[in-house]
């Protein structure tokens, strides 16, 4: 179906009240024929970012608005400026489906805040939220909420979404994310965890056959190969796997390249090796080896990273193999997936908690 898209924006000068902003937004939805376009909103999305990253974030949000029409409040926060300053920009992203389809608009309110007000973002975001809809708070590009703003924003948001993939220090980031779970008292998600869903699903599929289900309790070794930006994913999938299989963490050590974790399971010892390689892919391969090499089970990226290949080996013999789509790792797609969830993701939280314990032993 043909979809017509149009970005409308209005230049705003000076301070505006929340009421004025609402009126201007309604005006933006007015079509050429004078009819006000419908507003379809399924959620509020507050994005906190910096000035230089704002254009890229806006692009992601525009792409996303087709699937999750929202009221987006884009907060460009600069608390280090001494002087308080507040600027507002409004835009509407309108889409009409072909064949006389009615136009529906999603809205974006950009708030550029400098100085002391940047420590009280909730006072700006709260009056602009559409009532009765869930509120997601997204810190893109590896950013994390600072302590004062986190407390305030937690009061208005239902869910906090982070992205550990864009951080230069994965370990520190994951520790901070785990702290946020306690400090902010709100549900937390991580786009890198979202990106692991296809991997986790494929690994689970490999044990769906009754023939191999028994091997789950007898996994002795796992190898997680990741690219330079995939350390957090590798740690999180290790945390998930070891938790799900009921392994107890015994020790951890850094190797010349990567690290090695030792666990105790109900049937013996298991090790997980995190092995960085030169691959551009965040996660490149997950390989599980059961006792006495009865099964070697592997999920790996294939075909320039768009597909995944699952392979099952019994001894030296390949007994099963298939190729499927791995899904997109585009930030907009991952964010869209994360916006489907309301409430806590307990599997993520327990995996993250396990990761912190693993890091503590390193």
């Amino acid at each position: 179906m043909l979809v017509m898209e149009e970005l409308r924006s209005v230049p705003v000068e000076g301070a505006m009240s929340a009421g004025q902003i609402e009126r201007e937004l309604a005006r933006l939805r007015v079509n050429e024929d004078g009819i006000v376009g419908a507003r379809a909103s399924v959620l509020n999305l507050i994005v906190v970012t910096s000035e230089e990253r704002a254009p890229r974030v806006t692009q992601t949000i525009c792409e996303l608005s087709g699937r999750y029409p929202s009221r987006v409040i884009l907060v460009i926060s600069d608390p280090d400026e001494e002087e308080a300053n507040l600027e507002v920009g409004l835009s509407a992203f309108c889409r009409a489906r072909g064949g006389g389809g009615r136009q529906v608009c999603a809205e974006q309110i950009m708030v550029h805040v400098e100085g002391p007000p940047a420590d009280h973002l909730e006072s700006l975001a709260d009056p602009l939220l559409i009532p009765d809809l869930p509120v997601f708070l997204w810190y893109p590009n590896g950013e994390l909420p600072h302590s004062p703003e986190c407390g305030g924003m937690a009061a208005v948001a239902d869910r906090l979404i982070l992205d550990s993939g864009a951080t230069p220090n994965c370990e520190a980031f994951l520790r901070s994310a785990a702290n946020l779970l306690e400090d902010c008292v709100l549900a937390v998600g991580d786009l890198q965890w979202t990106a692991l869903s296809p991997w986790r699903s494929l690994v689970a599929d490999l044990f769906a056959s009754p023939e191999r289900a028994g091997a789950l309790a007898k996994i002795r070794h796992a190898e997680v190969v990741h690219g330079s930006g995939g350390e957090c994913q590798a740690l999180l999938i290790t945390g998930w796997l070891s938790n799900a299989l009921g392994w107890r963490l015994e020790s951890a050590k850094r190797m010349e390249r990567g690290c090695l974790f030792r666990f105790a399971s109900s049937s013996g010892e298991a090790t997980v090796e995190l092995a960085p390689n030169a691959s551009a892919a965040s996660l490149h391969r997950v390989r599980l080896v059961s006792e006495n090499l009865a099964f070697q089970i592997q999920v790996s990226r294939h075909n320039e990273h768009t597909d995944a290949r699952s392979t099952v080996m019994r001894g030296d013999k390949r007994i099963s193999e298939r190729t499927v789509h791995l899904g997109s790792s585009d930030v907009g797609v991952l964010l869209g997936e994360e916006l489907k969830l309301l409430g806590r993701d307990e599997t993520y939280e327990s995996s993250l908690e396990r990761v912190v314990k693993m890091l503590d032993l390193l």
Binding site: V42, P69, L206, A208, A244, R309, L341
Partner: protein
Amino acid sequence: MVDTQLPADVLRDETRLPKVPEPNAMVIFGASGDLTARKLVPALYDLAAGRRLPMEFAVVGVSRLRMSHDEFREKLRGTLRKYHPTAISDNVWESFSRNIFYLPGDFREAGTYWDLKSFLKRLDRERGTEGNRAFYLASSPSFVSTIVERLGEAGMNEGENGGWARLVVEKPFGWDLKSARDLNADIQRYFKERQIYRIDHYLGKETVQNIMALRFANSIFEPIWNRHYVDHVQITVAEDIGIGARGAFYEEAGAVRDIVQNHLMQVLCLTAMEPPVALEAESVREEKVKVLKAIRRFSEEEVGKFAARGQYARGWVWGEEVPGYREEEGVPPDSTTETYAALELFVDNWRWAGVPFYVRTGKRLPKRATEIAIQFKPTPHTLFAGAENRGLESNVLVVRIQPEEGVSMRIGAKVPGAGFRVRSVSMDLLYGTAFLEEVPEAYQRLLLDLMLGDPTLFIRADETEGAWEILDPVLRAWAESEGVSLYPAGSWGPEQAEKLLKRDGWEWRRP
């Protein structure tokens, strides 16, 4: 160390990871046909690519044509390229097609089924399909009873070694009440009702499922969803297209068999049914059957009063002159087959007593539209009577199923300014636009439900028979009467259909 066994789903024990069916083999009878090429294989490919199929999965095509496995795969690859809306991945196809097989055979011969049985056992051993089988009857309806009988005789009505066997039957579910009963009896001789999945792809559409979401996830509607507040209900399934190349089929079917008996009756059931105890197969089907039982039967003599039929004549649709039905390929020039049907039905139960349900369907109407319109009663006392308020009408809640899924509500609102003029305003909610996500094809959803063993969106035997019981007198009366009213293509149907509502003081909505 204690050697313990972990549950097989220990890695999938959460909501974020979707359910994946158990290993199984899907056998498609009529594998060289149109349905397999256009719908089944594209849906299975998408499920495979999207990681929704088990690793141990196989497709076995059965049909009379002689073909090797590779020839069958090549044929499917060609049709997939033709019918799949987006580009297909060579790698995914290579992987998926390695598990596609073909067995040539005559559906009537027992040998075909013994060969199939032995082949499926081989797949269990070599491909790990675990004795689970889904038999999809995509063949001509005339073969259904024969295939079921032969499957039963070969012992394939049960899975191997404790596995499951399920049977998928496509509509039409018979041609009248007797044939539907005969067909159900033929199938149930070998398969238990819980193994039978009667598929009406309409129920696989997200939009149809949304009727239940609207009714049962929103408490504001339920208190007014009854005879105290509803004056009448109009359900429309309108198509702007003609019958195309389906002349021979349509001559046998007509609008009642093609649309009313299945799609329209299902939509009516979802609209009128009581809230099910749970969103699971038996609870939902039980409530639908109660509606069908409550629908007032009319005799052949009453058909003229409660039903109207028509056939499209030459006319104009969307700026194009189109031929009449009798000019279509495969249609005799004196055909009396209805391309339009309208009925006034009554659901005689506590909730709906006295509320007419007007249902209609037709081809070559001005536009494609499917909707349910709940027309509410007027306010008990009109404060705003008078010429100034002529534009004020009673409330209508419209659930649009296609093309633009959504809900609209007609309410009265004051016109700004001096005085107290009140006019009707349409408030639109396009929930189809609120979620612009790619909606999976109906067949994807239904095939997945089949493999997961969830029959909620499939039709039970008593649903098909209940619908036929209501419609049988109509078909008999129309078969015996001469002549059918013509309506110009591009109009909203024959005059008789208008009269159905006019005598009650209403008219059909313009969707």
